[in-house]
């Protein structure tokens, strides 16, 4: 029994914990994008949606948040009208 406890102790590496916690923290840190990158992404999404729908003027929300093990991008865009055909030009 004592042997087993000792075995358990040597098996436990705090560096594994450190590495996992660090990777997790950095994943979130690195998603803290620069404002100009956020703006460019927002504009690109708006342009893509505009080919199919008429986008209303006003605030377009764009957020990155952590959900369980992954990072989720959410955006909300107000639409006034849907095109009958995709406007690809």
């Amino acid at each position: 029994m004592l042997e087993l406890l000792r075995w358990n102790k040597t098996k436990h590496n705090t560096k594994e914990t450190a590495r996992d916690r660090l990777k997790n923290a950095l994943a979130i840190d690195r998603f803290d994008l620069a404002p100009d990158i956020i703006e460019a992404l927002r504009q690109d999404i708006k342009n893509a949606v505009s080919r199919y729908m008429v986008v209303a003027d006003g605030e377009q929300q764009l957020k990155l948040r952590k959900e369980n093990e992954s990072i989720v991008l959410t955006t909300s865009i107000s639409i006034t009208e849907v095109h009958r055909w995709a406007n690809t030009n």
Binding site: N13, K15, A18, R19, R21, L22, A25, L26, R30, A34
Partner: protein
């Protein structure tokens, strides 16, 4: 001569940035290069005491920038190396009293005279940091194998990248070889994997850093100490020499080896 300016930075304070700057500057001078070290930690200068030059300060960096003296007047020649100079930071001004353009202009001028200009950057990522990095062509990041220091190093790598300084060299300072061996400290591979930068050097934890700093003599002067040898090798790599990376060994292991070859290791000597 067209030298280059290298900034030593870390984000987090207390990881050994100033010690590293003093040792790499000294190490480069020991290897025969002409070196100028600039302390940009305005208001919190420390390189002077670490290098044992605190009693020789007359003019400082801001005196040069504000043209109260020629750059050469503010340069303090090292006690041991003829080709090593320090421009100290002022102690009584604040970080906003110089601009990045002024510091960059000064470095461009002094690059004609020196092979290496090493800038000691203040901790943090505010004005002082921005000034220091904008004057440099290359960067060295100092971190320790701790989550907080590595996280801040990651932030700094991102900021350097945005400022146009790609591929900084990473120095991992204060490595405890026994903890690494036990799996209780982040090792070189973990940190390189996380930060995705080139490794420039590994420096073991060493009491000699403290005792040599007490005396105002950078530890690199004693090449028989573990940390001194590590800094000397890193200085060689900065100068483009092909020196393989050495993983720090625990002192007990070193003692055994030294006992085996009949050396009395770890004694402090002036080189």
């Amino acid at each position: 001569m067209t030298g280059k300016t290298i900034v030593i930075t870390s984000g987090k304070g207390g990881v050994g940035k100033t010690t590293t700057t003093a040792n790499l500057g000294t190490g480069l001078a020991m290897r025969g290069h002409k070196v100028l070290i600039i302390d940009t930690d305005i208001g919190l200068r420390n390189l002077d005491v670490v290098m044992g030059l605190e009693n020789r300060i007359v003019y400082d960096l801001v005196d040069v920038i504000e043209e109260r003296c020629e750059p050469s007047k503010a340069m303090i020649r090292d006690k041991h190396k003829l080709d090593l100079f320090l421009i100290p930071a002022p102690q009584t001004r604040d970080k906003d009293c110089i601009t990045s353009e002024q510091l960059a202009d000064l470095c461009r001028t002094l690059e004609e005279e020196f092979e290496y200009i090493i800038i000691d950057c203040p901790a943090g990522i505010e004005t002082g940091f921005k000034n220091a990095i904008s004057a440099a062509q290359e960067a060295i990041i100092v971190t320790t194998p701790e989550v907080s220091a590595v996280r801040d190093a990651d932030r700094v790598i991102g900021l350097l990248d945005s400022a146009g300084i790609k591929n900084p060299g990473l120095i991992i300072n204060r490595i405890h070889p026994d903890l690494v061996a036990k799996g209780d400290m982040l090792d070189k591979d973990d940190i390189v994997d996380i930060l995705a930068v080139d490794i420039l050097g590994l420096v073991p934890i060493d009491d000699k850093v403290i005792t040599s700093t007490n005396q105002g003599i950078p530890v690199v002067h004693s090449k028989n100490t573990a940390s001194g040898a590590a800094f000397y090798r890193i200085a060689g790599r900065i100068a483009g020499e092909d020196i393989p990376l050495q993983e720090p060994q625990s002192p007990s292991f070193m003692k055994k080896i030294k006992a085996l070859v009949g050396l009395k290791g770890g004694e402090y000597t002036h080189a």
